[in-house]
């Protein structure tokens, strides 16, 4: 899509060409494109890792890999999917769309923006390099502790842990820079007349995400730094023998880790209602209620972290507090679900690919949310915790709720970004293949968890065989279906039917007033909002 942007706007040829253009660019669309491309590549890297896992779990017994390598794949898969696929995708859309949606010429801090992106490729290399180093006999491979870095296992681990710690530092800096940029842009560069309560929902979602990132990333950075000093400099933060406590790490980690879930989801909760209103051809219902709900979730996000380790043992009052506060998250979410459906209600709906993804997203994310409500129950959590039930639950929230949401956004804005229509037929095929194979992958995992299969085991007892086999076959279908997604994006970027400025009949918002694709510098004259 990049080349076409250039081709259409020779009049802005003051920027360097070739690789230098991308290395030095401070343009919000170029940087957004780089974020999105990076995210797509890493989505396949992380996906390849998990297909390795699913191939190993296809039947009982060890077929392809030894347990050490298995443990490395699961942890790095998660880190890549969360930090290098989902978060950059959301940041990519933020870069592309926030200036367009608030009527600004660019992001407020363009050089910072460039740096934020270029921290990502080195951190992706840091994450994956230990795999390669191990082939040459250096170290014993990547992080093998799962993505959560729990000590003492991570203190015991090899150089993969150090690499992952530094990768997380870089990724964290990148996220904080991106967040600062979003906050500054939103507070300073809105078009005249666009009050906060007139901002598009996507901008609201991202604004809250940005605050959450700034609040929690430093805690993660602190926690992994303490881990680093425990590993190499003789401190005992997480070692009982020196007066520390391994569980303290879990508190610090999940103080970041739980808000992280909403960091990944809030941008999606932002643009899904916009997609719904576009294809229902009527304005979204309950704008204010949605904004307040997003704030409510953002606030609750930072006070519920300990539900990730109920089984680690804590006092009864703490258990009760974290249980009830976690359940409370369902209250604003219920309001959001109500508003989304009310937006569709008595609209004049049509089902182009973005709408299909958005509707499928509501259903699947609903399953993720409801199973999350059950997981909040401390007693039942003793059973669900660290079983495949949890694995299935968080893939409903993060794959369906996160990645399928991003896909909805991609199809929604792709014509705007490239100036061409994508293939509707392939898009719909992609949706149905993804939705069906996703469910076939993860529904069996709910039952595996209930039957007692722990997560993160490389080999399993015979009674788990059938469900694992179904799950593996479906996972490969799911993985291969994503090639359609890439094909559709690439061919859309290279050409196809011209997209109109408005693209969608029911589209609302400033981004649809610009040509498709928008000029290199978005709004040279600020639009005025009545």
């Amino acid at each position: 899509m990049s080349t076409t942007t250039v081709a259409h706007h020779d009049d802005h040829a003051e920027h360097p060409t070739g690789i230098m253009r991308w290395l030095t660019t401070t343009n919000h669309k170029d940087i957004g494109t780089m974020y999105l491309t990076f995210s797509l590549i890493m989505f396949f890297v992380g996906g390849a890792m998990i297909l390795g896992i699913r191939a190993e779990l296809f039947k009982p017994g060890l077929q392809l890999m030894n347990p050490e390598f298995f443990n490395q794949l699961i942890g790095v898969h998660a880190l890549i999917m969360i930090f290098a696929a989902l978060m950059p995708a959301a940041t990519g859309f933020a870069n592309w769309m926030i200036p367009l949606q608030i009527g600004a010429p660019d992001m407020a801090l363009p050089r910072l923006n460039n740096w934020g992106f270029w921290l990502l490729p080195p951190s992706a290399i840091l994450l994956t390099l230990p795999f390669t180093l191990a082939l040459f006999g250096i170290g014993d491979g990547a992080l093998a502790t799962g993505w959560t870095f729990y000590p003492p296992l991570s203190v015991q681990g090899g150089i993969g842990v150090d690499f992952a710690i530094f990768a997380v530092h870089l990724l964290g800096i990148s996220s904080v820079l991106g967040s600062i940029n979003v906050i500054v842009t939103v507070f300073n560069m809105r078009a005249p007349g666009m009050t906060l309560m007139k901002m598009p929902m996507f901008v609201w979602g991202w604004l809250i995400t940005a605050f959450l990132l700034i609040a929690t990333i430093p805690v993660l950075a602190g926690a992994v730094t303490m881990l680093l000093t425990d590993r190499h400099f003789g401190t005992h933060f997480f070692d009982a023998a020196g007066g520390g406590d391994p569980i303290m790490f879990q508190h610090l980690f999940w103080f970041f880790g739980h808000p992280e879930v909403y960091i990944l989801l809030l941008p999606v909760w932002g643009f899904i209602p916009q997609i719904l209103e576009t294809f229902s051809r009527k304005p979204m219902y309950g704008y204010k209620a949605q904004v307040y709900s997003l704030w409510g979730i953002g606030a609750l996000a930072v006070v519920v972290w300990a539900h990730h380790f109920f089984t680690a043992g804590m006092p009864v009052p703490a258990l009760l507090y974290f249980m009830y506060s976690t359940m409370a998250i369902s209250l604003p979410l219920a309001v959001l679900f109500f508003c989304w459906i009310k937006t569709m209600w008595r609209g004049s709906m049509s089902f182009e690919t973005p709408m299909l993804f958005a509707v499928g997203w509501i259903i699947l994310f609903g399953i993720g949310g409801l199973t999350g409500l059950v997981l909040a129950d401390v007693a039942a959590d003793a059973q669900y915790h660290n079983s495949y039930f949890v694995v299935a639950h968080f893939h409903y929230t993060l794959f369906a709720g996160g990645i399928m949401g991003i896909m909805a956004g991609t199809y929604y804005w792709l014509p705007k970004m490239t100036g061409h229509m994508y293939s509707e037929k392939l898009g719909k095929l992609h949706f149905w293949l993804t939705a069906i194979s996703f469910n076939m992958t993860f529904i069996p995992q709910f039952f595996l968890g209930l039957a007692g299969m722990p997560r993160r085991i490389p080999d399993y007892a015979l009674q788990f065989a059938e469900f694992n086999m179904i799950s593996s076959i479906a996972a490969f279908t799911l993985g291969l279906s994503q090639l359609l997604f890439v094909y559709n994006i690439v061919s859309c970027a290279r050409g196809g039917k011209k997209a109109t400025d408005k693209v969608w009949e029911g589209a609302q918002g400033l981004e649809w007033t610009l040509p498709s694709p928008p000029p290199y510098h978005s709004f040279t004259e600020q639009p005025v909002i009545k």
Binding site: P67, I367, A380, P454, Q463
Partner: protein, 390 residues
Amino acid sequence: MQVFRKIGLGVSAMLVSFSAFADYAWNFPTPATPMALDTLHVHNKFMLISMAIFVSVLAIMIYSIFAHRKSKGFKAVADKAPSTAVEIFWTLIPFVILLVIDFVIMGIPAYHSVIMMENTREKADMVIKITGSQWRWQYEYLDGDAKGVKFVSNLSTPKEQTDKGFDGKKDEHYLLEVDNRLVLPVGKKVRILMTSTDVLHNWWVPQFGSSRVAVPGFLRETWVQVEKEGTYRGQCKELCGKGHGYMPIVVDAMPAEEYKAWVASKKDELAKASAGADKEWTKEDLVATGKGVYEKNCAVCHQVSGAGLPPAFPALTGSKVANGPIFGADGKYLKDSHLDRVLNGKNVMPSWKALLNDTEIAAVITYERNALGNSVGDVLQPSQVKTARQ
């Protein structure tokens, strides 16, 4: 129509799988303790509520999808810009529904479950201590008849079955069988203290409904009261390194008399083992015993051949430690000697002091020094280990 097609596909797929795995588990395994029973009730109730919410919301949405589509000529009916009061009223409805579900329908039973789960001490009939180690469980009875009974429980699935590329028939309880089972009396409330010697582990038997993380340096507690005689199986549930998938739990619940008999026989066995520590062993006997101990405990890292998995797990063949002197001139064992390393561990190497008895330690050291390609030729007697412990 596409939505119907999707539902049809889903339902038919479910039916096919139902008939194919008619005896397959769709829910928690049969509960064996009051806590597991409670968890099952909670789970079933919540699942029904969730289903009800899900289906009713889905129904409204699907109705809308079919009725309110452009292709049918349905014109959008714009919501009359709601006054704030109307909007608050409508959006409060889902809020209030969830409020009732969360904090009344679900919240009140959940409160009682938590209190029950955490009530480990009241009316406890006996106390046991479970220690997780990479990658085995150690059980110790702390009071009552069985006081002092203490043993280690290892995976006993034959190693060739768990090896990479094994394609033959696997045991019925593949990966879920151990050499020494934990034995508990039926109907007694057992308070469980939990700890670990190295990393986090989690002792989990699904039919007991209790799971608790074993934290090194701390004691955590939980309890079980097995109501029905039988054998129960579970696994470690917290990623603990490469052997995480290979530390199963097997519990035999026995009626009081059988339990008593088991305690007596176990005590006998332990007495014999400690008597063995006082006699003089021949090198052949030690090497033969040591081979068994080695393959059960050490081979997972140092490999059956002694080649290790460098750099994380060093080779024993030709190793400086395994070929160097054990005792100094003063008759005490040297720092960083073979015996020191096995007794006290270093870095990833765990301490075996609590996991193996004197005979086992003497045997495995003698084996490592006289097999695996090493031929130091000396013999370490169990009595020497016993002295070294003091």
